[in-house]
Amino acid sequence: MKRASFSNRDLVQRLGFSLLTLVALVTVVPILVVIAYVVKEGAPAISWEFLTAMPRDGMRAGGILPAIVGTFYLTLGTAVFSVPLGIAAAIYLSEYARDNWLTRLIRIAIINLAGIPSVVYGLFGLGLFVLFLEFGTSILAASLTLSIMTLPVIISASEEALRAVPQAFRTVSISLGGTRWQTIRKIVLPQALPGILTGVILGLERAAGETAPILFTGAAFFLPRLPGTPLDATMALPYHLFVISTQVPEMPFQIQYGTALVLIAFVLGMNIIATVIRSRARAKRQW
C-alpha cells in the first residue's frame, strides 16, 4: 500500500517535470523557427555585393549598404547619448539618492518610460528634436529619440548591477579613508561593469531594431549616398525592411529576407556579445 502511494507520487512528479519541459520548449520553438525561416529564405540573397553596394533599380537590386551603415551610425549615436547619461543616473540612484519621495518619483518615471509605445517616442522626437530644436530629419534627432527610449533599460540594468555589489565592500573602502566617489570608482563600478555592459548592449540592441522612433526623426526612404554628417538623414535596416516589404511593388522576395537576415544577425550578434561578457564576468567574479 505504501509502495503504491510512493510510485503514484513519483508518477505525478515525472508528469510535472515533463509538462514544464514542454512549456520551456514551447517558448524556444518560435524563436528558432523564425530564425531558421529567415536564414533559409534570406541566405541566398547574401553576397559581397548585397552587403557593400548601393541599391539599384528602385531598391529592387544591388545592395543595402546605406541601410547597414545607417543602422550602425544610429546605434553609435544612441550609445553616445544614452550610455553616459544612463550610467550616471544609475550611479545616482544606487549610490547617492536617499529613499524619499523624489527618488520614488524618478523610479516610477523610469518604469513608465519603459512602457511607452515606441511610436510615441517617435512623435515626441519629431516635436522636440526635429522641429523645436531644428535638428531636422537627421541622424542626430533620431539618435536622441532612440536614446530616450533606451535610457530606462540602461538605467534599470545598471542600477541592478551596482546594487548587486556587496555592501561590505563599500563599508570597508570607507573605513580605510575612501570618499564615496573613490569607493564607487575603484571598487563598485569595476565590479558592476560587466552587468552594466550587458544592460547597455541589450538596450542598444533594441534601439538598433526599432522602426517607429526613427520613422519621423531620421529615417530616409531612399538615399543615393551615404550620410556625411550627423545632420543628414539616413537609411536604416528596420525602416528599409518596412519600405521594401510594403511600399515598393514587385520587390524580389529574396531581398526582403536578405535584409531581415542582416538585421537579425546585427541584433543577435550584439546579444551574443552581451552573453559572452556576462558569463566571463560570472566565472571571474570574486563574490
Binding site: 563599508t171 570607507i174 579613508g177
Partner: protein, 252 residues
C-alpha cells in the same frame, strides 16, 4: 598610562527610537588592548563605529556627548572624517577582502590618500603583512587575487590592510568570530605585539577571549556601561553583581 581616547557622556539613538548607548563615559589607554565585552545588543559595535564615524553611513541617528581623540572631539561636525578614518582603522567580524590582489588590498588605503610611489606602497604592504604575521605565507604571491586566501589568512590580511594605512588606533569588532582556534591564536598573538605601538579596542567573541587578551576591560549591558577596570581586576574581582554573573557564565 596616557589616555588616547576619552569618551564623555556619549548617548546614541537610532532613527527608529531604539537607544543604543546610554550616557557612556570611558577612558581608553594608549598602547594597550581595551576589551569591550558583554552580551549581544549591548552597544559595543555601535560604540566602535562612533570612534571612526562609520555610524555616519547609517540612516539618521542622534549622537550626544563628546569623544576626544588626542584631545580633539571627533564628533564635531568640522572633523575631517577621512583623516579620522585613516588614523582609526577597523577590522570587521567577517573578513571582507576587496576584489583586488593581495597587494591591491594592502595598498588600497594609501592609494586613496594619493600615494603613488611604488617603493612607499611596497614598503607599507610588507610592514602590514609582517605585523599581521602573514608575510611568510604570502610573500611570493602578492599579485594573486586576495579571495584565494583561507578565511584565517583573509582576516589577517584585513588586519594587515589596516596596518599598512599607518593608523594610531585599531578597532576590532569580533575579528576572530569566524576563525578556527589556530588562526584565532595567530591574531591574538599579533595583537600582543601590536599593542606596543597602537591603541587597540577589541570586541571579543567570547568572555574567554576577553579575559585572555584584556589589559583593560569594559562590560556593556543593554546600552549601559556597567563596569570598567583593568583586565585582571575586572575578571577576578568584579565590583558589580551583574559583571560577576556574566563573567562566571550565569547569563549571556
Amino acid at each position: 598610562m596616557v589616555d588616547k581616547i576619552v569618551i564623555e557622556n556619549l548617548n546614541l539613538q537610532y532613527a527608529d527610537g531604539t537607544e543604543s548607548l546610554r550616557d557612556i563615559s570611558l577612558n581608553i589607554p594608549a598602547n594597550a588592548i581595551s576589551v569591550l565585552f558583554g552580551p549581544a545588543g549591548g552597544g559595543k559595535s555601535s560604540l566602535l563605529r562612533c570612534l571612526n564615524r562609520l555610524n555616519d553611513l547609517t540612516e539618521v541617528q542622534t549622537v550626544a556627548g563628546r569623544i576626544l581623540l588626542d584631545g580633539e572631539d571627533i564628533l564635531d561636525p568640522q572633523t575631517d572624517v577621512i583623516a579620522l578614518r585613516r588614523k582609526v582603522g577597523m577590522v570587521f567580524a567577517r573578513p571582507v577582502v576587496l576584489p583586488l590582489t593581495i597587494r591591491g588590498n594592502l595598498t588600497y588605503g594609501l592609494e586613496l590618500a594619493g600615494e603613488k610611489r611604488k617603493s612607499r606602497l611596497d614598503e607599507a604592504a610588507e610592514r602590514g603583512l609582517k605585523l599581521a604575521a602573514l608575510w611568510d605565507e604570502v610573500r611570493d604571491r602578492l599579485d594573486d587575487p586576495a579571495i584565494a586566501l583561507s578565511g584565517g589568512q583573509q582576516q589577517r590580511l584585513c588586519l594587515a590592510r589596516v596596518l599598512a594605512n599607518q593608523p594610531e588606533v585599531i578597532l576590532m569588532d569580533e575579528p576572530t568570530s569566524g576563525l578556527d582556534p589556530i588562526s584565532t591564536g595567530k591574531v591574538e598573538a599579533a595583537l600582543q605585539e601590536l599593542k606596543k605601538d597602537y591603541t587597540i579596542l577589541l570586541v571579543p567573541h567570547s568572555v574567554q577571549q576577553a579575559a585572555r587578551t584584556a589589559d583593560f576591560a569594559a562590560f556593556f549591558l543593554q546600552g549601559e556601561l556597567v563596569e570598567a577596570a583593568e583586565g585582571k581586576e575586572l575578571f577576578t574581582h568584579p565590583k558589580q553583581k551583574r559583571t560577576e554573573d556574566y563573567v562566571e557564565g550565569r547569563f549571556g
